[in-house]
């Protein structure tokens, strides 16, 4: 299965990317290759293959529900462009 330019244009719009015609041509080709490869994967014969989630059979570890974080607010806020009274100030994006 191959993608066409309209589909890539739609993806680019969703991703807010501005592509030139050359970049469209390249993207159509590259993304099509990926889709083709997924097609190849879906045709693989997995009959009788036991799924392996982890080579060491590890499972998700749980921990006691206790507070382990220390208060580092000042350090975190030092990375922000603008703060006041412990709040992060950002440019207004919603009218």
């Amino acid at each position: 299965m191959s993608l066409d330019k309209d589909q890539v244009q739609h993806i680019a719009t969703l991703a807010r990317l501005n592509l030139t015609d050359d970049e469209y041509a390249e993207s159509v080709e590259k993304l099509s290759k990926i889709v083709d490869f997924v097609d190849q994967l879906s045709q693989a014969d997995t009959e009788g293959v036991t799924p392996m989630a982890h080579p060491l059979d590890a499972v998700q570890r749980l921990r006691p529900d206790v507070v382990t974080e220390t208060d580092e607010r000042d350090r975190y806020q030092a990375n922000a462009a603008s703060v006041t009274d412990g709040l992060y100030l950002v440019p207004k994006v919603i009218e």
Binding site: A44, L56, R61, R75, Y76, A78
Partner: protein, 376 residues
């Protein structure tokens, strides 16, 4: 031998014997960085004052009869590891002004062992690259040939160690980011088993594949660093709670009886002939030392996607010299456990095959194979 040329093992022995101090070694390496890194661009941050203070502390600890296993040994951290109070950029403009509020577990453990951080290594942006040409801070040069790439994404770590800016550097590997730059810079790269080293404070690329490791000039140094870095960490939920072998004590053990898997498909079309020949040479040497090899069949290898497919594979191969001089130096991987590396390395050296045959390039070669098929 100049101080900057010494390996971590030689530094530990020299400190112990009182031949020199960490302050002297750290100053020598900082001088070398200042004199040569404008050509290599291997470091994005040099923490000179902090390093000298840490070296003084290490010397004082030694004088008081204390200090950890890497006490006073300078090293460089890949800029993917969070370092408290020091910029952690991950090679990106987005994090250019990010001062980490905490240390990664790897950074913390190495510091607790007495290691001295000289600075932070350049890398492909967010580790997404295999040539070190995608960093916001500009490309890293290969010290063996400034026109070539040192590989990536841990290219700054590899170039630093190859250029003797530090005896060792931390690095990370998702789909070759330690092994491939090690292969291209004549250094020893080790990607430990997933879960062996904590990923806490290591900026994620692909969380189920990322693993922290080392770039050094000897297998012995890889063992020394891994011994400190490895082990369970409750702050990383995928960290494996298994005992850590004494890698350093097991250096020099025989490979007799070791069973080594050789994947047949990795020698199919697409493998550089020189690289393939060097791997075969190494297999012969291992067999002559008493290891047995077993051919392993992975019929579905065509369906495997390499995790770090570079966007421009041909440029990478060309610049990295896989088809040129670096290729002829031929780094190869053997499936020998880290704790046997020293003996294998020594014997390979005796056999004239070259010490760095143990740099892990096997996946790089195999990945090259996959890239070519993928790009056809």
């Amino acid at each position: 031998m100049a101080l900057y040329e010494k390996t971590a093992g030689e530094l530990v022995a020299g400190f112990e014997a009182g031949d020199f101090t960490s302050v002297e070694v750290t100053a020598a390496l900082l001088d070398r960085i200042a004199a040569s890194d404008d050509r290599l661009n291997a470091l994005v941050t040099v923490t000179a004052d902090q390093a000298m203070a840490a070296a003084e502390k290490a010397d004082a600890a030694r004088a008081a009869g204390g200090g950890g296993p890497l006490n006073g040994v300078p090293l460089i951290h890949k800029d993917i590891f969070c370092t408290r109070g020091v910029r952690t950029s991950c090679g990106s403009k987005m994090l250019d002004n990010f001062i980490s509020p905490y240390d990664a577990t790897v950074v913390e453990r190495l510091a607790n062992a007495g290691a001295v951080m000289l600075g932070k290594a350049n890398m492909d942006e967010f580790a997404m690259g295999s040539s070190n040409e995608t960093s916001y801070y500009g490309p890293v040069r290969n010290p063996w040939d400034l026109e070539r790439s040192p590989g990536g994404s841990s290219g700054g770590s590899a170039a630093s160690v190859a250029a003797r800016l530090a005896p060792a550097a931390t690095a990370t590997d998702t789909g070759g980011s330690i092994r491939q730059p090690a292969a291209l810079t004549n250094t020893v790269g080790l990607k430990p088993t997933y879960g062996r080293v904590s990923r806490y404070g290591m900026i994620a690329f692909a969380s189920s594949l990322d693993q922290a490791g080392t770039i050094t000039r000897t297998a012995e140094d890889a063992a020394r660093l891994l011994a400190v870095m490895a082990g369970f960490d409750e702050r990383d939920s995928t960290s494996i709670d298994e005992p850590v072998p004494d890698y350093v004590a097991e250096l020099g053990a025989s490979v007799k009886g070791l069973k080594i898997g050789v994947v047949r498909q990795h020698f199919d079309e697409g493998l550089d002939a020189d690289c393939g020949a060097r791997v075969r040479d190494a297999i012969d040497v291992l067999e002559s030392l008493g290891a047995t090899t077993v051919e392993v069949d992975l019929p579905n290898l065509d369906l495997v996607v390499h995790a770090e497919l570079p966007s421009n594979h041909e440029t990478l191969l060309h610049r990295s010299g896989r088809t040129g001089r670096a290729g002829k130096r031929g780094r190869s991987v053997l499936f020998a456990p880290a704790n046997r590396r020293r003996s294998v390395e020594r014997l390979l050296s005796d056999a004239g095959v070259g010490r760095q045959i143990l740099s892990v390039n096997y996946l790089a070669a195999a990945a090259g194979n996959q890239f070519q098929k993928f790009n056809k």
